[in-house]
């Protein structure tokens, strides 16, 4: 039994941290807020050069052939820096789906391009307001051509390859659709201005079947991605807490550092507790993901729920600790607040994951 990352894994995390500190600081993130496209292409290329896009992809497909524990640590650093790159969409979702269900030809064609950073991916499922349900999907593939509109596609404006949920005969399936003339993309603003978000209208776009039992497949994919996104949330939560602690130590009011007031100190202690609980749940989930254990659905939902709670709490109370300055555009607090609320909905809302967690709980006599 050993409940810690190895020294090699920690070294990798440190390398990623240093790269992002140097190349993806807050000034770089801020350039994206008002720019177009809403991503940092230079950072994306840097991550590709470091081999990080293929962290968990086998070497035969151009990846690094490391594992999911390593990928979790990369995710944590991306989350801490709120890196404006389509990493989750491309790596946790599209590359994962190809690894899980792609034919050999599909894998050989797409994965090396993804690892090289020349193909970016996006998952397109949602068609209307409200929780994603099978009945919500009207997009349909007939004779290999996809018609339908997806209304919120993370990284949809920069994607080259879409993973699309659509009707196919009498069932839902996941399809691969390349960016082409038949794909109409409209960028839209979201709560997180450091993310590319688009509405994507497919009009007879050529679609390749990836996996037929689409709804079940999506749940499998989400369980795996949830662990990785949870590590992004963890990274963001830690950074928000660090910002709040630093400010509480340096900001004086009533003749003393505000961190000496129990009202502030206890708020920070609660942020820490929330973060530590999430971190420990994420560590367990990283192991479950890396070893594909039978309890992955429960471990993933647990990591997801607690990491969502921790990031939302730390980001919102980081603003509170900063007082009025925390509500200014210049201070970075709102960037983390925005990201925390975006990630809370990416892959399904907190209440959806709570329900999934409860469904995955064993009968009590087995606990």
């Amino acid at each position: 039994m050993n409940f810690d990352f190895s020294d090699d894994q920690k070294l990798l995390a440190d390398q990623v941290k240093r790269y992002l500190d140097d190349n993806c600081g807050m000034d770089r993130v801020r350039q994206v807020l008002t720019g177009s496209p809403r991503m940092a292409q230079d950072v994306w290329e840097g991550l590709a050069r470091m081999g990080l896009l293929g962290t968990a992809v086998p070497e035969s497909y151009g990846g690094a052939g490391a594992g999911y524990a390593e990928l979790c640590l990369v995710a944590q650093q991306l989350g801490a820096h709120i890196a404006p790159v389509p990493f989750g969409s491309t790596v946790y979702l599209v590359a994962e789906a190809l690894l899980l269900w792609g034919s050999q030809a599909q894998q050989e064609y797409w994965l090396p391009q993804i690892c090289a950073g020349t193909v970016k991916g996006a998952l397109a499922t949602v068609e209307s307001v409200g929780q994603l349900t099978p009945g919500q999907i009207h997009a349909e593939v007939v004779n290999g051509a996809l018609c339908g509109k997806k209304v919120v596609v993370t990284d949809g404006g920069v994607a080259d390859l879409y993973l699309v949920m659509a009707k196919h005969g009498d069932q839902l399936s996941l399809f691969l659709v390349e960016r082409a003339a038949q794909v109409d993309v409209l960028n839209v603003d979201s709560v997180d201005l450091s993310r590319d978000v688009a509405q994507v209208n497919f009009q007879n776009a050529p679609a390749q079947l990836l996996v037929a039992q689409g709804w079940n497949a999506l749940e499998v994919l989400q369980n795996r991605a949830a662990v990785l996104y949870a590590f992004e949330q963890l990274g963001g939560a830690q950074r928000a807490l660090d910002m709040a602690v630093a400010y509480a130590q340096e900001r004086f009011a009533f003749g003393r550092a505000i961190g000496s007031f129990q009202a502030i100190k206890h708020m920070l202690a609660d942020m820490f507790v929330s973060l530590k609980l999430a971190e420990s749940n994420c560590y367990y989930a990283a192991w479950a993901l890396a070893n594909n254990t039978a309890d992955l659905p429960l471990a993933a939902a647990t990591a997801r729920v607690s990491a969502t709670q921790a990031f939302q709490l730390c980001a919102k109370d980081n603003i509170q600790v900063h007082g009025g300055m925390g509500f200014t555009w210049e201070f970075d607090c709102h960037l983390y607040y925005r990201r925390s609320n975006y990630l809370a909905l990416e892959l399904g809302s907190l209440s959806e994951w709570e329900a999934r967690l409860v469904e995955a709980l064993p009968r009590v006599e087995n606990i």
């Binding site: 039994m1 602690v245 129990q262 202690a269 009590v364």
Partner: protein, 414 residues
Amino acid sequence: MDFTDTPAEAAFREQARDFIAANAPHYLAEHLAKSGFGHTNTGEHDALTEAKKWQRTKAQAGWACLQWPTEFGGRGASPIENVIWSQEEGLYSRLTGTFIIGQGMCAPTLMAFADPSHNTRLLPKLASGEEVWCQLFSEPHGGSDLAGLRTKAEKDGDEWLVNGQKIWTSGAQHSDYGLLITRTDATVAKHKGLTMFFLDMKSPGVRIVPIKQANGNSEFNEVYFENVRIPDDQRVGGVGEGWRVAITTLMNERMAIGGSIATGFPEILEWAQSAQLNGRPALEDPNVKSKLADWYVKAAGLKNNASRQITTLSKGGLPGPENSMGKLVAGNMMQDIAKFALDLQGLSGVLVDPSVAEGAARFQAMLLRSPAVRIEGGTDQILRNIIGERVLGLPEDMRADKGIAFSDIPTSAL
């Protein structure tokens, strides 16, 4: 990262399992399984007698206090072996509550500060459960402000003369020894005038008075000292070093209870999995789902955090102040769970008579006991201070007792 046993760990687990299969008091299993919150159910058998018996059986075969050195009655086992043992002991660990304070808090303090000749004599009896220890720290004027304690010890030849009062001492009535912190100098700053001792609880002048608690039970006691004599060689650590010694005890306290503390989660889950709400399984109710998920991630987070602490310890690290979060999370959670369970029971939730109340009134017992969890062993507020100051490095609050002699510190009217 690896949560599976190494071959050596698997072999150790097998050994533990064999010992338990052959020696555990299986006749108590069905009673222990029905233990309510805060009490050990041993059916028609006496709980203290059974606890001592199981402890002795374990000690004779080297399965008591596994991490202690063998000369003190332990096994010299690793932190991970200790965890494996706890997992295997399972239900029967409910018999060990009586010994937690002695073995988990007093013993590590004695090992760090007491004279080795005392340790070779006292610790094996503590390990085997032959002797029970209590911790005499809190006072009417020194709870959260523990260093404000007033029980006085004055040197008299080779002895110390102790006068004063302790409160909230669990298990004092069946303890053989106690770890006692006293004030030996009121003319210096409050943290500097303290000294630790151990004493025989049967010493003349020691009077134990049970406290009738808000929930009607009496787990805690007041302990009065009237001219109690303690030999100087029962001093634990130097004169005036009592605060440093007490911190050792308290850090071990948070480690001893932080990882394994009851949260109420298994109970509420069991209830939700079997109960009906408005004619449908309670588990289908969105509100129930949301609450259960929230509590589960906290319970799982505590368990996984404890596993991380074990890894830290097995690499030679020490239990850190972040362990303060265990009781902080568990105490609040238990109170919330109890309140929610009663809410779901409607007006029937008011019943506390076990013969008629839902689930033998276990959630009602939890409701009435849980306020104490948020106070005993460090209040929620003190724990948040510890996290804020010792983990996050925030500055101390401004204090009115800094840098002045204890005798000059303002106090409330007596």
